[in-house]
């Protein structure tokens, strides 16, 4: 029956026309205190933002600082909001938009398990070599490869492994750092 009710009876204005979504990588320097990750993630879920990739680790032990690298998508206005909202959290020291700076390096590590015998096994090994993936575990019927690189390189490698007996993939998510001599 709701279908018959015109949308203008809502208390709220209709949603604005969608702008094109863009993907940004944000580096967020935070105090490594309990609940800080929950604050960041809660902000994303509470305000309906997307998380495409998330990595967290303490980077400066003496100062108890952690670096959160988050890849998110949204309209340019939403991306600006996300940065401002993150910046507003008390334990957040800095938010740097790595995509906007245009001078960042982004890398991801993946471990890829492939099971197979015969030609498939040889082919997997050859492709791994071409992608500079290392063998970090092997049995007579399986390999675990370690591959580092940009996300699309990993995607491509995983896609190639699929017909060769891909079992599973474990990925770290993206870590990013700015080029040049200056820190964030």
């Amino acid at each position: 029956m709701n279908a018959n009710v015109p949308s203008s009876t809502s208390h709220y204005p209709t949603a604005p026309k969608a702008q094109t979504d863009v993907t940004h990588t944000l580096s967020v320097l935070v105090d490594n205190e309990p609940g800080v990750l929950a604050r960041v993630i809660g902000l994303f879920s509470g305000r309906g933002y997307n998380i495409e990739s998330l990595t967290v680790s303490e980077t400066e032990h003496a100062k108890h600082l952690s670096l959160i690298t988050v890849v998110t998508t949204g309209t340019p206005m939403v991306i600006e909001q996300i940065k401002n909202q993150l910046d507003r959290l008390v334990p957040v020291h800095r938010v740097v938009d790595m995509t906007l700076s245009g001078r960042s390096i982004e890398r991801e590590l993946a471990m890829v398990k492939v099971r197979g015998k015969g030609d498939n096994r040889v082919e997997a090994l050859r492709l791994a070599d071409a992608f500079r993936a290392r063998v970090i575990d092997a049995t007579t019927e399986s390999f675990v490869f370690e591959i580092t690189g940009k996300s699309d390189k990993i995607e491509q490698f995983v896609a190639l492994m699929l017909p060769l007996g891909l079992v599973e993939v474990s990925r770290t998510g993206i870590a990013a750092i700015a080029r040049g001599p200056d820190g964030m």
Binding site: P13, G35, V90, P91
Partner: protein, 586 residues
């Protein structure tokens, strides 16, 4: 002062050191050590409420009317969850609060212990910041840091969750001089280049206006003074959000009244037609903007806000200025005075003439009655009877709130306490308790609806206990009026569940709670009854029986622009020549 004490004693000592006089709370198992500490001193007076939500609203009223931090103390589990509505309310309206919650002992956390809940988890999205204290060594710093965070920058509520073993533990207390949170440094000064650009834009405007909000009030009395000076110097018209009422005197000729969904015609039309908008401490909320793509389409927008995330959230602005209102207004005023050229006189004259035309439509007019009390009339009479007094107004949420905003006029900041962002029914009564405590000699009135007031009715008992002579002025129309209005206008008169059958007899209810009850049903009796209410030096529950069918106008319906406002059937300003459609859309 540095000495050894228990965690519980630290809580009260820190409050005393912060100058806290009143603490609103409700005891329970997990905060008993703190109640022992309260028992042992006289500096911080505890006010016992009847429900934890009431404690938070009372603290909000206290904070909003004084500019100080409001303090709350509740127990673990249900104590904390009951406080959540108030905390969310304070977050939405940027009210500085410090709320201490008790927690089960550290070793039981996560154990589903009696009256345990994940307080920091639950309150994370509804506080500016929160803490779970796990070491007694951290407690003194956290207590003082909480006050700093609550009151600085964009103010907001801060929760400190203290396990019972930490309350018993002994440690060294001292007031820290600085706080290690290097990430938290609110920006007070605005970018001077941006302010210069803003002044340039303002000086060349032909149809400018000021649109101000609660940020001006949060910035302190000085900000209101600066705003007044700047507005008078520029000669621009000014309107304000619900939260900003009082920052600029309503008696001033440049004042256009409130804007937004139930704002005046002149304010909303001026917003729509202006060419330069100076937004000071407001946030382009959906109740203000209406349809976003038709919001003030031809204007350049200047936005002053201390919270960078408020800027460009809903509406793209041309000149963003991140900073505290008072600091930015001070710079703006100085630059304006130094600016060589000011606005074109002819253009400004035309603009004021146009505003005058909109004003002449008298958008707040309503059809009077000798038979029933019109709610607008009741507020008008209340205003007339109290305007020369030292009066503070709180409200609940709904039609009565909008009528209060339209018909009660404020000349000073901090006189108007209402739940704007969250729209919490039941806010006004407990808030008035807090206001009255802060201003014991003043007249404090909660303008209420009969539905809202029943949500936190029990706090009348608190008012009686502490001899707080609050006046609860109920506009009783038997309906959840705003719900009924929406159902009438937008849901085909289907009054689904918006009529309250079996209302209490408010006079008897007041008497049962040792307060005074007054009922008034006839317009002719109103003035006398209001006078009686004011003269009684005890809490009064005033049951003002009003027209059940009255609607609150003007109204910008959802999804409509500012110039698509519905005006009321006033019988005064709309002449009969206008068609039915024309009456609906102006």
């Amino acid at each position: 002062m540095t000495r050894e004490m228990t965690g519980a004693e630290m809580v009260i000592q820190a409050m005393a050191d912060q100058g806290v006089k009143h603490l609103f709370g409700y005891p329970g198992g997990a905060v008993l050590p703190i109640y022992d500490a309260i028992f042992a001193q006289t500096e911080v007076k505890h006010i016992l409420v009847r429900h934890e939500q009431g404690a938070v609203h009372a603290a909000e009223g206290y904070a909003r009317s004084t500019g100080k931090v409001g303090c709350v103390l509740v127990t673990s589990g249900p104590g904390a969850t009951n406080a959540v509505t108030g905390l969310t309310d304070a977050l939405c309206d940027s009210i500085p609060l410090v709320c201490i919650t008790g927690q089960v002992p550290t070793h039981l956390i996560g154990n589903d212990a009696f009256q345990e809940c994940d307080t920091v988890g639950i309150t994370r999205p509804c506080t500016k910041h929160n803490y779970l204290v796990k070491r007694i060594e951290d407690l003194p710093r956290i207590l003082h840091e909480a006050f700093h965070i609550a009151s600085s920058g964009r103010p907001g509520p801060v929760v400190i969750d203290i396990p019972k073993d930490i309350q018993f533990a002994k440690g060294i207390y001292s007031k820290p001089k600085e706080f290690p949170h290097t990430g938290y440094k609110p920006k007070l000064k605005g970018d001077i280049e941006a302010i210069k650009a803003a002044v340039e834009l303002m000086a060349n405007a032909k149809r400018p206006l000021f649109y101000t909000g609660g940020g001006v009030i949060n910035s302190g009395k000085h900000a209101s003074e600066l705003l007044k000076e700047l507005v008078r110097l520029t000669g621009f018209p000014i309107t304000s959000t619900l939260m900003g009422l009082g920052a600029y005197p309503a008696a001033d000729p440049q004042w256009m009244g409130m804007l937004g969904m139930h704002g005046t015609m002149e304010a909303n039309m001026a917003m729509h037609d202006c060419d330069v908008m100076v937004c000071v401490g407001a946030r382009f909320d959906d109740r203000i903007t209406g349809r976003i793509d038709a919001f003030s389409p031809g204007s350049k927008k200047i936005h002053i806000d201390i919270d960078a995330s408020s800027i460009n959230k809903n509406v793209k602005v041309d000149i963003p200025i991140v900073g505290d209102c008072a600091h930015v207004l001070e710079d703006m005023l100085r630059l304006w005075k130094a600016h060589a050229k000011h606005n074109d006189k002819k253009a400004m004259g035309d603009w004021w003439k146009q505003i005058g035309k909109w004003r002449d439509r008298k958008s707040l007019a309503y059809r009077g009655s000798n038979e029933v009390i019109k709610p607008q009339y009741a507020i008008q009479r209340l205003y007339e009877a109290t305007k020369d007094k030292d009066v503070y107004i709180t409200t609940e949420v709904g039609q009565h709130q909008m009528w209060a905003a339209q018909f009660f006029h404020f000349q000073e900041p901090n006189r108007w306490m209402t739940s704007g962002g969250l729209g919490t029914m039941g806010y006004g009564l407990p808030a008035s308790v807090g206001v009255q405590l802060a201003h014991p000699k003043s007249l404090v009135i909660d303008i209420a609806g009969e539905a809202s007031v029943q949500m936190t009715m029990q706090e009348l008992s608190t008012a009686v206990q502490y001899r707080l002579p609050i006046k609860i002025f109920i506009l009783n129309n038997g309906y959840m009026g705003m719900v009924r209005q929406w159902q009438e206008l937008l849901h085909g008169n289907r009054y689904s569940e918006s009529y309250s059958e079996a209302l209490p007899d408010f006079v008897k209810l007041a008497e049962a709670m040792h307060a005074v009850g007054i009922r008034c049903e006839k317009p002719g009796d109103l003035d006398h009854a209001i006078k009686e209410m004011i003269d009684i030096d005890r809490p009064v529950l005033f049951d003002c029986v009003v027209d059940q069918k009255e609607n609150c106008f003007p109204m910008i319906p959802s999804g409509k622009a500012h110039n698509e406002m519905i005006l009321g059937d006033s019988g005064v300003s709309l002449d009969d020549a206008i068609t039915e459609e024309g009456k609906m859309l102006v």
